[in-house]
Amino acid sequence: MTSLRDEVEDPLGLDYARAPRFSSPDEVGAALAANRYLADAAIASVVYLADRLIKPVLIEGPAGTGKTQLGKTVAEALGARLIRLQCYEGIDESKALYEWNYRKQLLRIQAGQHGESGLDWHELEGDIFSDEFLLTRPLLEAIRATDPVVLLIDEVDRVEVETEALLLEVLSEYQVSIPELGTLTATQLPLVFLTSNNTRELSEALKRRCLYLHLNYPDVERERAIVLSRVPGVSSALATRIAEVVRSLRQLDLRKAPSVSETLDWARTLVVLGRSELGDQDVKDTLHVLLKFQSDIDKASKELLGNRA
């Protein structure tokens, strides 16, 4: 790792240091739980290390397992501002990093022409390429923020491989180079989360710079706890039942396995319907909340409910 910054005395030998925000993985877990995000040991450890090693976290996993939510919740737990960059195909540096405000620059030039002349070119050039005419986009905003921020780069797999390179400088050095202004370094080192739905292989360069967290579907106990904490009206017995049904569904070979968010939708549905227990008929009637393909619904009701469904 190379850095332009001075070496800092630190047991970890990092190139830059920041006072740790958490003292242990347990504290992370507790802070997240206080914001109604139930993290297992792996999640809490990774967030703790991300803060301690000052590295971005790349989160992968099936849709609806709480990838984006993790970033949001960490921001909440820290009381930090969340800056979010939603990636899409064709995003470029003028959308991700910064852009010069052409219209304002044009106005400035025209104002110079009509007003008292005598403004020389260099002065004008220095003037129109200054902070005032810079439009900050999420990445630059996160670097320049003076208050604590959490940067969430959502669905990073949607950008092209070439565009990924834009992120690298920000992710490894926490700085942005603007040809006209020079290099802007972060005043506070933001926590960075990247999420990916794994629609394509991310480049080695990006992966190397990040800690990697694979979020899978939770096990029965954790899912039950998630349901209980997120859906207030649900009874403990019902939550257990819900978690068990969802686990059985995920073991079937379905086109789209139910995600955690769909589990929560289902729990809410059952609460609205006033169920405190889960009978076969209830499952059959509400399965469409969990499963989004007719073939999946047919298969699930055949497998789970037997012939009588």
């Binding site: 790792m1 047991p11 970890l12 030998g13 990092l14 242990s24 993985p25 040991a41 792996a42 450890s45 990774v46 703790y48 290390l49 301690r52 090693l53 590295k55 976290v57 790349l58 992968e60 996993g61 195909e89 052409y102 092209e160 794994n198 629609t199 394509r200 292989e201 080695e204 992966k207 190397r208 990040c210 800690l211 990697y212 967290l213 694979h214 029965v220 039942r241 068990e244 049904v245 686990r247 059985s248 073991q251 086109r255 889960l278 009978g279 076969d280 499952v283 073939s295 497998e303 789970l304 409910l305 037997g306 012939n307 009588r308």
Partner: protein
């Protein structure tokens, strides 16, 4: 600790996981930052810094269990036995116990078979991890018959132990306990209880695996054991010789792989060349430059998509390879103008109809196995006859847009090769490719006649693993 980390990283690299020096450094830093006494945290720290691909987790987990279980188990044993014991003693003692069982069988240990079963049942029912580990320890010393010094991975010991524990009875017991009174057969509670019980049985199996592994590590050391249990990553598995479990893993790997491939191809096509000028957007764009069209905008290109004809040998020896290729090609069929598939053993049948309207290509492949009409006389591959039939019936459908993929090992059982067919097809088609699932060194040995067909193909490609298959299909579109 640093040495241990070093050899662990070495093991990961040997297993095929790419670990860069930066990542090694990160792992070392992470270990400084955390509490080393908490195993789950150590594991998370290592996996997050060293493994950057979810398909590599299985290999990581195995290596972690071997390298880091040994340390903690040894430490725990030292604490229990007291410091005056020799480090080698526990393993030899347990080894002799195992040998005793192997020779005479029967009454070792102070727990009876029934008591052991009851203990395992209670441990699983209540989710008591330490009791489960204890039960696994007893079961392994009693049944596994571990012989010290043998360079094995422990699969056989696992099999021996599990055979002696009546798992089906245990599962049934767990299921009825979970379902409670009055659960109707075929009802939801029954099914949930079954899944629950199976999950718990898996826990037991894992506990026994852990225990066997721990003993093997004590016996032979981590690196040696890691070498004998190392398995290739899913994408590097040899498709032809994969076991059933490995095939399931392959199957699972195929879905994301085909999705990624399709995405990449679609992107490549869109970005490849410029299409015609998009007048409307050019004019709109010129607004910001005072009506001067500085940046012309072009329409996205629409190059012609190729047509694919797959001709696959589905006889026993290469069936699983044909199945995977058909699945992959059909999974990305949107990237082609048309995909037609033909299957043969010693007669040829068109299989495209099975894929039409099938929601899941896997169903279609299953139907090919049962319904396609591919056997003529004896059910041994006859490439010559299949090719002649293809030529008779479908040669006129082959155009300059068609790429033909032939899948098979070209083991022709000494029938006539009829290589002229390929020559003629090649003249009609855009390209003819032969994908051979055998390693290149086996080609042309025995009844393999790759050499007879090779001159008439644009390329003959060795395609033993999913990775090779993906790379090849990626070049097609």
């Amino acid at each position: 600790m640093l040495d241990l980390l070093g050899s662990f990283v070495g093991e990961l690299r040997d297993a095929g996981i790419p670990v860069s020096t930066t990542e090694h450094l990160d792992a070392a830093r992470a270990l400084v930052a955390i509490d080393l006494m908490e195993r789950a945290v150590v594991k998370a720290a290592l996996s997050t810094t060293l493994v950057k691909d979810e398909t590599h987790f299985a290999a990581f987990e195995l290596a972690f269990e071997i390298f880091f279980a040994s340390v903690t188990a040894q430490a725990a044993a030292d604490q229990l036995d007291g410091p005056e014991h020799e480090p080698g003693e526990p393993s030899s003692q347990r080894g002799s116990e195992g040998r005793g069982k192997g020779g005479g069988g029967g009454a070792s240990g102070e727990v009876t078979q029934e008591e052991l079963a009851a203990m395992l049942f209670r441990a699983l029912r209540e989710g008591d991890a330490s009791m489960l580990a204890e039960g696994a320890r007893i079961a392994v010393s009693r049944f596994a018959g571990i012989e010290p010094g043998r360079p094995v991975g422990g699969t056989y010991y696992l099999y021996r132990t599990l055979r002696n524990l009546d798992l089906d009875a245990l599962r049934a017991l767990l299921q009825s306990a979970a379902a409670g009174e009055g659960a109707l057969p075929g009802s939801l509670s029954q099914r949930l209880a079954l899944d629950d019980a199976s999950g718990r049985i898996d826990q037991l199996r894992r506990a026994i695996e852990d225990e066997i592994r721990r003993r093997l590590v004590e016996d032979r050391g981590a690196s040696a054991l890691a070498r004998s249990v190392r398995r290739p990553l899913p994408e590097d598995l040899d498709v032809m010789h994969a076991t059933r479990d490995e095939l399931t893993a392959l199957h699972r790997a195929l879905v994301p792989l085909s999705r990624k491939l399709a995405m990449r191809l679609a992107r490549k096509r869109r970005r490849g060349h410029r299409g015609a000028l998009d007048l409307r957007r050019t004019v709109r764009q010129s607004m910001s430059t005072g009506g001067v069209p500085i940046n012309p905008v072009f329409k996205p290109p629409r190059p012609a998509k190729p047509e694919i004809f797959v001709i696959a040998d589905v006889s026993g020896s290469v069936a699983s390879f044909a199945r995977f290729t058909l699945l992959l090609v059909h999974a990305i069929s949107a990237q082609f103008r048309k995909v037609r598939s033909f299957v043969f053993v010693d007669a040829l049948d068109e299989a495209t109809r099975f894929f039409e309207g099938a929601a899941d290509p896997a169903d279609a492949v299953a139907r090919i196995n049962t319904e396609a009409d591919v056997v003529w006389i004896d059910g041994h591959s006859d490439y010559g006859r299949a090719l002649t039939q293809f030529h008779e019936r479908y040669a006129n459908d082959v155009t300059r847009r068609t790429s033909i993929l032939l899948l098979g090992d070209a083991r022709n059982n000494y029938h006539a090769s009829q290589a002229w067919v390929l020559d003629d097809l090649r003249r009609r088609a855009r390209a003819v490719y032969w994908l051979n699932p055998e390693p290149q060194s086996y080609w042309n040995s025995g009844d393999s006649i790759v050499a007879a067909y090779a001159p008439h193909c644009d390329a003959v490609v060795e395609c033993r693993t999913l990775r090779q298959l993906e790379r090849f299909v990626g070049t097609l579109a």
